[in-house]
Amino acid sequence: MDYPSRFDVIVIGGGHAGTEAALAAARMGVKTLLLSHNIETLGQMSCNPAIGGIGKSHLVKEIDALGGAMATATDYAGIQFRVLNSRKGPAVRATRAQADRILYKAAIRKILENQPNLWLFQQAVDDLIIEQDVVRGAVTQMGLRFFADNVVLTSGTFLGGTIHIGMENYSGGRAGDPPANTLAKRLRELPFRVARLKTGTPPRIDSRSVDFSKLIEQPGDTPLPVMSYLGKVEQHPRQISCWITHTNTKTHDIISSNLDRSPMYAGVIEGVGPRYCPSIEDKITRFADKDSHQVFLEPEGLETNELYPNGISTSLPFDVQLDLVRSMQGLENAYIMRPGYAIEYDYFDPRDLHYSLETKCVQGLFFAGQINGTTGYEEAGVQGLLAGSNAALRAQGKDSWHPTRDEAYLGVLIDDLLTMGTQEPYRMFTSRAEYRLILREDNADMRLTEKGRAIGLVDDVRWAAFETKREAIEREEQRLRSTWVRPNTAEGDALSSHFNIPLAHEYNLLNLLTRPEIDYAGLKAVTGTGVADQQVAEQIEIRTKYAGYITRQQGDIAKLKASESISIPADLDYTKISGLSKEVQLKLTDIKPTNLGQASRIPGVTPAAISLLLVQLKRRQANQNLEVSEQ
């Protein structure tokens, strides 16, 4: 049957991409339907229940700055919080939280159910309704037809999913869930480029069978960090520790003598796995000289005994998993609650997408999350938010939006995917961002909230908090700039002796803050004036300390903007441009860059090729002007 009413946006899939997509569209005021095969697993963390970490926390904070749910849910569900790289500079600091799987799911469910304009419906999707390359809706397993002109597909690892444990394999979307094979088959009929990726999980261990006295304890940070800009420490549940153990030569012997029973090594798995998250089989083979690897035992929740042993993801058969786990210190009597497994799934080449995440070949159809070749909750969530908001913009008849490489890690992520594609599950790292010093986790709100507000993603509460913070920063910076300290005055002497520096002449406080020896807290203590809000003080301090580098990066950004403002028509025939090498022609035809900046980032495209393109564009424009004037 046909469902009696129409929607503006349908989101298929209730993982991290799907929930952020549905919430974003609904926040923007369009009628949104979230279709999931199981409402009980909305917001499910299928791998390790941890949010954030290097590069990833940056994405979470960007979701938060745009009004998304991930950071808030983390604040309600986090059972161990740490700031990584806390002794390195602010640009590379990253908050990481171990979450309670059940609390996290509950927090997401609560946000979803309280979101106006959003409807949830439980039923697996088997097909899309597509008329002449335009999407019109989706059909569920029981033949129910939902209509909407914008559909966001976030099917994660469910498309053609195959689970491997040892030489055994069966189809599945995630341990315990069925795959979406009918949908996968239908999608393969469309002109998308499809390939396979692989990812793995470790066996889960019952904490009652672990001897914690033999493990190294890793407590959370004090003071407790929060994830959301609006987050409060009081929102956190009870905090507990993680634990560390190590593999040893015995573990390694067990693995190497059973490699022939690993589907990866026996050639059963074709999909490519991530280089940065290798299976324990991979680690031992590729780094044969290392006789020990760290293993983090991370609790999956407060009310469960399940532990996630981070660092030993494997697809070896169960008997080997048991032996290798029990060879480690503290785990001699470990009981495995769920076996580890590897999963292979379909993904679509992200080079077939627009920056809005709308597909190039089906209008109104958006892809977000693992379907685009990424891995990680954070990478999925941020794409969901982008796709959902663009689906809503399209429903409203407005232009699409996306942040650029200098504005957000989200910008880096989509530009990397669209420009280079990916051969392995794509994960964010700070080294992928050339403007790392500008894209920090502390200033995602300064970078994005205003934009989010303009398109309707940011509600009044968040907006008010943001404006207050921004004004406080400007006011305080202004005060520091206009407050002068003179040598040989009481204040000058106090500063000199507190920081142990000579004052050569008159300085304003902002000047003083640029010096490495001087920090805001000290300045505040000595002068007796300053702001109490930690976030405000932090912004002022970081901006001042990084000022020289930021100015230089801004120079680079100005150039980037200029080349990105020159758009390339989609119908440009690269084979007709004389002088371009065959290789460059092929690459440009393959990717069809939307502007000159993107073209220049395609590996192998030379400055001379860019010059030729520019001349060609200019010529084309002049020809068009000529035609217009002749008419």
């Binding site: 700070t430 004389s578 001379a608």
Partner: protein
């Protein structure tokens, strides 16, 4: 169409020829650069006569400066033209000064490209511009490659490797803090950085002295034993660079000499005489001679006009023509006219080769040969010479050096690893202009193959 441009600079005149050398600057910084170099505010379309200043009011050259205000200029941007007294060294210093003041070295064909983009050239010229860009980038690549051959290339690649391995440590420490690889905390990174700074300083020093980088035309002197090849080299060099005897086979190896003709560098290679020989050492010398001939820009084939083969040297030496890539690169030197009584003469032939009759020992006709070589260099002159390719490399090295110094300060004074990382990234960007691109993903790949990552 809107497109922003930085300011570019280049030597606009052919290398080493004529009495005037021009440095051209185009872009928004042209007025500022003019003001700094001329020490007066430039007036548009007015010929300023005076000194061109380096830093601290030290005059580099004297000449005429012209300033054209946008849009009334060739490129449509502000243009400064400095017309000085030429000479590659002075011009290079002037160009370097412009770069210090914020310009960047122009790519080949870039002035014309800008002229076109700013509607200064009509549509019909678009094809020509495209051809120019293509041709000059091919030429530039060839010149860059030539400048990069041998020792210099080896050292730059070593430097790049050193830099990459340092970046692997720094970036891994930043992106994977939980992997027990925090090298920023231990002394390893500082050690590596110190070594890298030393290596880079050494390479710049050597490159600056021209020890590693040589440019100019490669001239090879070839011929039968005792035809007077070494005498010719000595005559050109002006002193006894090669030992000259009457015994055939005296020069057993290739001998190199670097000379200047009117300020233009020439590298002359004297080769062992081409003949079948049973002497092993001499045999190696002959092989080297053949190699040098294949790679030469110009071959001076010396024949003894007193010997019978002087009648028709090419047909007598079919094997020589096999080695010589192109007959138009050959100048036949008919030597020993003092003995044979032949007249001093310069003849051009239809197949492109040229013939000069002279006496190396007496010095007759040497001036004509020098003129001839100068002309050959002129013909060789293209949009971008090896000279500017070399300037580009040196410039990249120097920029890399300043980033490394900055990074060193950040590490040692503030222990700011993320700022060191930024400086290293920028330094690598500079080196990448010489050695080719290196992406963030390449770097991650190196990290994953060096360290076992995988929490």
């Amino acid at each position: 169409m809107q497109y922003s441009q930085d300011t570019i600079a280049a030597i606009a005149t052919a290398q080493g020829r004529g009495g005037v050398g021009i440095v051209r600057v185009s872009g928004s910084l042209a007025a500022h650069i003019a003001q700094q170099i001329l020490a007066v505010e430039p007036k548009p379309r007015y010929a300023h006569y005076g000194a061109f200043y380096a830093e601290e009011q030290q005059a580099l050259d004297q000449g005429i400066a012209l300033f054209f205000k946008s849009p009334h200029s060739f490129t449509g941007e502000d243009i400064l033209e400095l017309q000085g007294h030429g000479g590659p060294v002075i011009l290079d210093m002037l160009l370097q000064r412009c770069v210090e003041l914020g310009a960047r070295l122009a790519r080949p064909g870039e002035f014309s490209e800008r002229a076109f983009l700013n509607d200064k050239l009509d549509l019909a010229q678009a094809e020509a511009i495209a051809d120019l860009i293509e041709a000059s980038s091919v030429q530039a690549a060839r010149n860059a490659l030539r400048s990069l051959q041998g020792e210099f290339s080896k050292q730059v690649h070593q430097l790049t490797e050193q830099l990459i391995s340092l970046r692997i440590f720094v970036e891994a420490a930043i992106d994977f803090p939980e992997e027990e690889i925090d090298f920023l905390a231990d002394g390893q990174i500082l050690n590596q950085l110190t070594q890298l700074r030393e290596s880079l300083t050494q390479v710049i020093h050597k490159a600056g002295q021209g020890v590693l980088l040589r440019d100019g035309m490669n001239v090879v002197i070839a011929g039968r034993p005792n035809a007077g090849k070494s005498s010719l080299l000595n005559a050109l060099a002006g002193y006894e660079a090669a030992i000259v005897t009457d015994i055939a086979g005296t020069t057993r190896d290739t001998l190199k000499e670097h000379i200047h003709i009117d300020g233009m560098p020439l590298h002359i290679t004297d080769t062992a005489g081409l003949r079948q020989t049973s002497d092993q050492v001499e045999q190696i010398g002959v092989e080297r001679a053949v190699k040098a001939i294949t790679a030469a820009d110009r071959i001076l084939l010396v024949v003894d006009t007193t010997s019978p083969e002087a009648a028709d040297p090419f047909s007598l030496w079919p094997e020589f023509l096999q080695h010589a890539p192109d007959i138009s690169k050959v100048t036949l030197i008919r030597n020993k006219i003092d003995l044979s009584g032949e007249q001093l003469a310069v003849d051009n032939f239809a197949d492109g080769h040229c013939s000069i009759s002279l006496s190396a020992r007496q010095g007759q006709g040497i001036e004509a040969l020098r003129e001839h070589l100068k002309q050959c260099m002129g013909y060789q002159q293209t949009t971008e010479s090896t000279f500017s390719a070399r300037r580009r490399h040196l410039d990249a090295l120097q920029q890399a050096q300043s980033f490394l110094e900055n990074g060193y300060q950040q590490l040692t004074q503030v222990s700011a690893g993320e700022l060191l990382a930024e400086d290293l990234r920028l330094a690598q960007q500079c080196l990448a202009e010489i050695t080719g691109e290196f992406t963030a993903d390449d770097l991650l790949g190196r990290i994953f193959s060096s360290f076992c990552i995988g929490k």
